[in-house]
């Protein structure tokens, strides 16, 4: 049985708490990396991270890229969309096909 977590600034993720998602308010990428590592080892299957926070901790997120779990998903926060999520989709296509044929 796996759990679901949300990380990011408090304003962006507070709403998730009422849905039964564990929330971890954090804004500092270094601290975020630390928490992410702990979550990945402690039975969290899906971790949502606000794009602002995710941008600072790409290295840590990459570590989990090749494993089936956890699935780390960047989501937009209250301060808007940085486009990181859609960029990552383009990156998959580029990696697999050689060029971004969807855009």
């Amino acid at each position: 049985m796996y759990k679901i977590a949300a990380m990011g600034d408090k304003d962006s993720i507070y709403g998730f708490a009422s849905l039964g998602v564990s929330i971890f308010p954090v804004t500092d990428p270094a601290e975020g990396s630390h928490i992410l590592r702990r979550l990945a080892e402690n039975g969290y299957g899906v971790i949502y991270i606000t794009e602002q926070l995710a941008e600072g901790m790409q290295d840590e997120i990459e570590r989990y890229a090749s494993r089936p779990l956890p699935s780390i998903v960047p989501v937009p926060g209250v301060r808007g969309n940085t486009g990181l999520g859609l960029d990552s989709v383009s990156k998959f296509v580029e990696k697999a096909v050689g060029s971004d044929i969807l855009s």
Binding site: A17, S71, V73, F92
Partner: protein
């Protein structure tokens, strides 16, 4: 011509021929795997993109309502309202094998029987905007889980496609030509040896005849 460093013997030739057959079969299989993976990947990545756009839009709307709620209510009241969630979500994860890529499949489980049981507060002391925000997030949640699943699958498949493509290319452009060239080299060398043996024998015969009959 890239010839492997081998002795031009008949045994080596047989070995190489066998290796070439294996390499060709491996190449064909890997090529099929790559094509099938690519087909599935493209379907999946299109779905991924559409879903992501949808989810981002949904979250944006929820955030708008949340911001309004935050303005209307005091921080403390909001904290109190959301501090103790009644609902708890957990995931059942199974694995699916797609062309030997293990991709996760998520199945959401709710703690309470009614999955709409999302309001962890009394309605008396909270603003209606909070309800809107929570409801909007709850509506988008199944899609977010689906997104997590698909995005992970896309990522794993992209890795696998890259790996498979490298293998196919290595077989097609390095291994197979190398084997073919080496086989040709050995065949020619063996033929050449045979011819030289024949000529030598003819020469020896001539010399012996000359000795015996004084031609």
């Amino acid at each position: 011509m890239a010839v492997l460093n081998v002795n031009p013997t008949r045994m080596e030739l047989t070995n190489l021929k066998r290796k070439l057959v294996t390499a060709r079969r491996g190449h064909k299989l890997l090529k099929d795997k790559r094509d099938e993976l690519m087909r599935r990947f493209l379907d999946l990545v299109r779905e991924n993109k559409a879903l992501r756009i949808e989810v981002e839009e949904g979250i944006k709307q929820a955030n708008v309502a949340m911001s309004v709620a935050r303005c209307v209510m005091s921080d403390k009241a909001l904290d109190v309202a959301l501090m103790l969630p009644t609902q708890e979500m957990s995931l059942d994860v199974s694995e699916k094998n797609v062309m030997s890529v293990m991709i996760p499949v998520f199945d959401v489980k709710f703690k309470t029987a009614n999955e709409n049981d999302i309001y962890s507060y009394g309605f008396a002391e909270t603003s209606g905007d909070l309800d809107t925000a929570v409801k909007a997030l709850s509506d988008i949640m199944p899609k977010m889980i689906k997104l997590a699943e698909i995005e992970k699958s896309c990522r794993l498949m992209a890795d696998e496609i890259e790996k498979t493509r490298r293998r196919v290319n290595a077989l097609e452009h390095v291994m197979i030509p190398q084997y073919e060239d080496t086989i040709k080299y050995i065949t020619m060398k063996l033929d050449e040896n045979e011819r030289s043996t024949t000529t030598r024998l003819m020469k020896v015969k001539d010399m012996m005849l000359a000795q015996a009959h004084n031609y």
